[in-house]
Every structure is written in structure tokens, then in C-alpha cells.
Amino acid sequence: MELATAIFYLVAAVTVGSAAMVAFSRNIIYSAFSLLGTFAGVAGIYVFLGADFVAAVQVLIYVGGILVLILFAVMLTHRITDVQITNRAAGRIPALVMVAVFIALLVQTIQETPWVKAKEIVYVPTTGAIGDLFLQSYLLPFELASLVLLAALIGAVVLARKEIKE
């Protein structure tokens, strides 16, 4: 029990640290690579919560797909981006104050709400139950999701292709 809590704190610290790096690092390459730490940390938290299939999908889709895509975009637009990332100080202070107030409100709400206690801890495979839900009660959203992905694919190809000047 004690060890599990310690590991939870470690994973959470890695996640929050790399998230802060993503948002506040001056170098966009560091930002993009720190996203790897955040995604992996969140996948670790999923494992803590007993969601094995979601953790595997998180690693596959986010680390294997989205992160590689973002790195491609960073490389394609790299020449200018590393020069002009400095911010005006005037816009930053109010924004940070607002975010601090926001996080204080969220944490206070979370701490004061009487949440339900967890059910008994059983780590069972979740893949079968997820598949059942997808093909029974969530069949229509499931099919629509594939349509959304197809539309995004075509849209991205149309947007990003090189225009041929005549």
C-alpha cells in the first residue's frame, strides 16, 4: 500500500513536471518532446486505475501517432519558431493569476465534495467489456467516429498539400 502510493506520487510528479515543460518551455523542440513524458505518465496513471486497454491505446495513439505527427509539424516549421517565442510580460501576469484562481477553485471543490468510496479493488481485463459496449449500446457513435476520422484524413490532405501555381 505504501509503495503503491509512493509510485503514484512519482508518476504524478513526472506527469505534472513534463506538462509544465510543455506549456512553459521556451524551446519548441523541448515542448514537443516533453509531451512524451506527459502522455507516458498519464498512461501509467491509467494502469493505476485498472484501465489496461485504455493505457495501451494511449501509448499507441498518443505516443505513436499524435506525438510523431506533432514532431513532423515542428520540424517542417522550425526555421522561424525558435526565434520569436518571447512573450510580453504584461499579458503573462494576469493570465497566471487567473489560472491560479481557477486551479484553487477546482481543488477546493474537489476536496469539499463527498465522493463515493471505491468498489472493491479487482484488477480484471477490461477489453471484453469495452468491446461489448462498443458493439451494443455505443454502436452508432462508434461508426460516426470512423466517419469523423475519415473526414479529418481527407481534410488534412486537402489542406496541407502543395498548391500548384499555373
Binding site: 510543455v22 512553459f24 496513471i45 506533432i70 497566471l96 476536496q111 463515493v116 469495452i130 496541407a160
Partner: protein, 100 residues
């Protein structure tokens, strides 16, 4: 097993960092990365609630959020590359062609 509060607070912190990134940074790509952070925080909340309510539906919703996140990243990056090709810049303050 850590109580539900821990996961919710962790998720709130990640979400707030994402909000700060969107508000503060002046680079399209970093704004997109921060949006991904926020989506991940929301996913974490869904999974935590699914665990503590003993229900699978939260995990199913996470897959739809992931679908939307993937579509958003793909189209967003295509738009960014297209804008960069035309304007040679990634600063959102310069994107005011539709303003009058």
C-alpha cells in the same frame, strides 16, 4: 489505492497547465500541444470516475475523446503548415486577415 481526490487534483493541475499554455504562449504549435494536455486531463477524469463508480462507460467515452483529439491534431497541424507556407509565421497575433 489512492483515493479519488488524488486523481481529480492531478487532472485539475494538468488541465490548468494546459489553460495557461493556451493563454500565455504565442506559438500555434504550443497552443495545440496545450490543448492536447487539456484533453488528456479530461480523459484522466473520465477514467478515474469510471473506476470509482464501477462502470465501464467512462472508458468508452475516452475512446471518443481520443478520436476527436486525433482529428483535431491532424486538421490543426495541416492548417498550421498551410498558414506557415503562406505567411512564414506562427504568431497568432498576425493572423488577422478576417479582421476589419
Amino acid at each position: 489505492m489512492a483515493p479519488l481526490n488524488y486523481y481529480l487534483v492531478l487532472s485539475a493541475i494538468i488541465f490548468a497547465i494546459g489553460v495557461a499554455g493556451v493563454v500565455i504562449r504565442r506559438n500555434f504549435i504550443v497552443i495545440l500541444l496545450s490543448i492536447e494536455l487539456m484533453l488528456n486531463a479530461v480523459n484522466l477524469t473520465f477514467i478515474a470516475f469510471a473506476r470509482y463508480l464501477g462502470s465501464m462507460e467512462g472508458q468508452v467515452i475516452v475512446f471518443f475523446v481520443m478520436t476527436v483529439a486525433a482529428a483535431e491534431a491532424v486538421v490543426g497541424l495541416a492548417i498550421i503548415i498551410s498558414i506557415f507556407r503562406h505567411r512564414r509565421s506562427l504568431d497568432p497575433r498576425e493572423m488577422q486577415l478576417l479582421k476589419w
